[in-house]
Amino acid sequence: MTTEAIEIHRLNKSFGSRKVIEDLDLQIQAGAFVSLMGPSGCGKSTILRLLAELEPLSSGQISHSKENLSLVFQEANLLAWRTALENVLLPFEINPQLSVTPEDERKERALRALQQVGLQDASSLFPHQLSGGMKMRAALARALVTRPRLLLLDEPFAALDEMTRFELQIQLRNLWIQDKMTVVFVTHSITEAVFLADRIVCLKAPGAKILLDHKVDLPIERTNTLRTTSQYNQQVETISMRLRS
């Protein structure tokens, strides 16, 4: 199976008279883990929505395969009347490419996705019976069950407590190592971006101009102990200083 690359060329996006993205050029290699970083309102979430075709672009080009794309939102966005398992099964019911999947394979894949995020024992629970972290895990499982080649995440861990956030970051990184899909992760946290990504693209408002395009020099596998190493802290500091200057 091949992974797609993203090619953004002279992208412009305006909401009314407000230009959110101005002449953006960005290429993302297939199988890369890229973090889009920047302050609130700099246009990073808009880029994600444009990639997912949830917004029409004003001008320019975005080329990537629209099939096999999953998006994880800021909120878990689970359907309250469906159990965790039924939520994970949802893409099989509504995605035309997945609707041909046989019934037993659907269930097997959904259960495996829940297991991958450590929710195997909560499959029959409804969202209101899950904690914030568990809900986000279920949302992640729902995104992974489609075996996406492009996974877009819009500040998915922003509302979680630190411990859960750390745990989910490691889980996400490990899932990426396993599947090697292209990941675009939007965040406003430098530490989160450095811990997760191999490449960090910092944007600034107005116009989502690229302020910094940084290659993260850290081992492929990331564990909690990495957060206390000088190597990691140096990376955080480097980006921090370059942003300040």
Partner: protein, 251 residues
């Protein structure tokens, strides 16, 4: 069941207290029984005319169920069509407001001309009065899923129909239930108004008792109408609880 009974205890208590107070006031001539009958008189007339009351109750009940059923079916379908087509909504919804604003008593004679005396007119009257809340509430529910959930369906390339029955309809559940509660009460109002002009049921009994100044019959009919209302609301509440225990649409 026991907890439902416990919850209803304050209402039962206040009803009994009021009935006893009324009985006392009429017994000591504080209120004339020609204006308000004593509860014992109401029970008495219910007993003597029990056959007439039973038949009238069942007829009104059946007409109301059919009128409300039609409202749910047709109102639900109209709301679904409106939610799928903005153009149709803009073209037709203003006319649906007619059903909400027109006094049923003003068009009931027309219904008699169109449908004749008896049940068809009564059912039509009940339907017209109870239609709008079903359309309005269902439509609000169908149009109100959060943007992020609609985005999720869009990213997964779901069709409009899939979005309708897998997201919009379940999301609209609580709105639909609220609309049903309003419509259930209104459907009884529509039935009685229809029966005033088309005959039959408790409405006709009230109308004929009015001409004979029989307030005991009117109050007995009102008591039965309240009972009918309670049956409707109780059934809806029970059904709602049963559904929510299985699927938490309200969370």
């Amino acid at each position: 069941m026991i907890s439902t009974f416990k919850k209803s205890l304050p209402a039962i208590f206040s009803f009994c207290t009021l009935a006893l107070a009324l009985e006392g006031m009429i017994y000591w001539d504080l209120i004339s029984y020609t204006l308000i009958p004593a509860p014992s008189m109401v029970l008495g007339v219910l007993k003597t005319l029990h056959k007439e009351f039973t038949d009238a109750f069942l007829e009104s009940f059946s007409n109301t169920v059919q009128g409300l059923g039609l409202s749910i079916l047709i109102g639900g379908l109209i709301a679904i069509v409106f939610s799928l087509s903005e153009l149709l909504k803009r073209a037709i919804l203003p006319f649906a407001v007619f059903f909400q604003t027109v006094p049923i008593i003003a068009i009931a004679p027309l219904l008699v001309i169109y449908f004749g005396f008896g049940s068809p007119t009564v059912i039509a009257s009940s339907f017209i009065v109870s239609l709008f809340p079903v359309i309005a509430n269902t439509l609000i529910g169908l149009e109100s899923p959060p943007r992020l959930q609609l985005d999720l369906f869009k990213v997964q390339q779901a069709s409009a129909l899939q979005t309708l029955y897998k997201l919009r309809l379940p999301w609209a559940y609580t709105h639909i239930y609220a609309g049903l509660k309003i419509s259930a009460g209104l459907s009884i109002v529509g039935t009685i108004a229809g029966e005033f002009v088309a005959g039959g049921g408790l409405g006709a009994m009230i109308d004929s008792a009015r001409t004979q100044q029989r307030v005991d019959i009117v109050f007995a009919a009102l008591l039965l109408l309240s009972l009918m209302g309670l049956i409707f609301v109780g059934t809806l509440a029970f059904g709602n609880k049963w559904i929510l225990q299985r699927r938490p649409f309200d969370k």
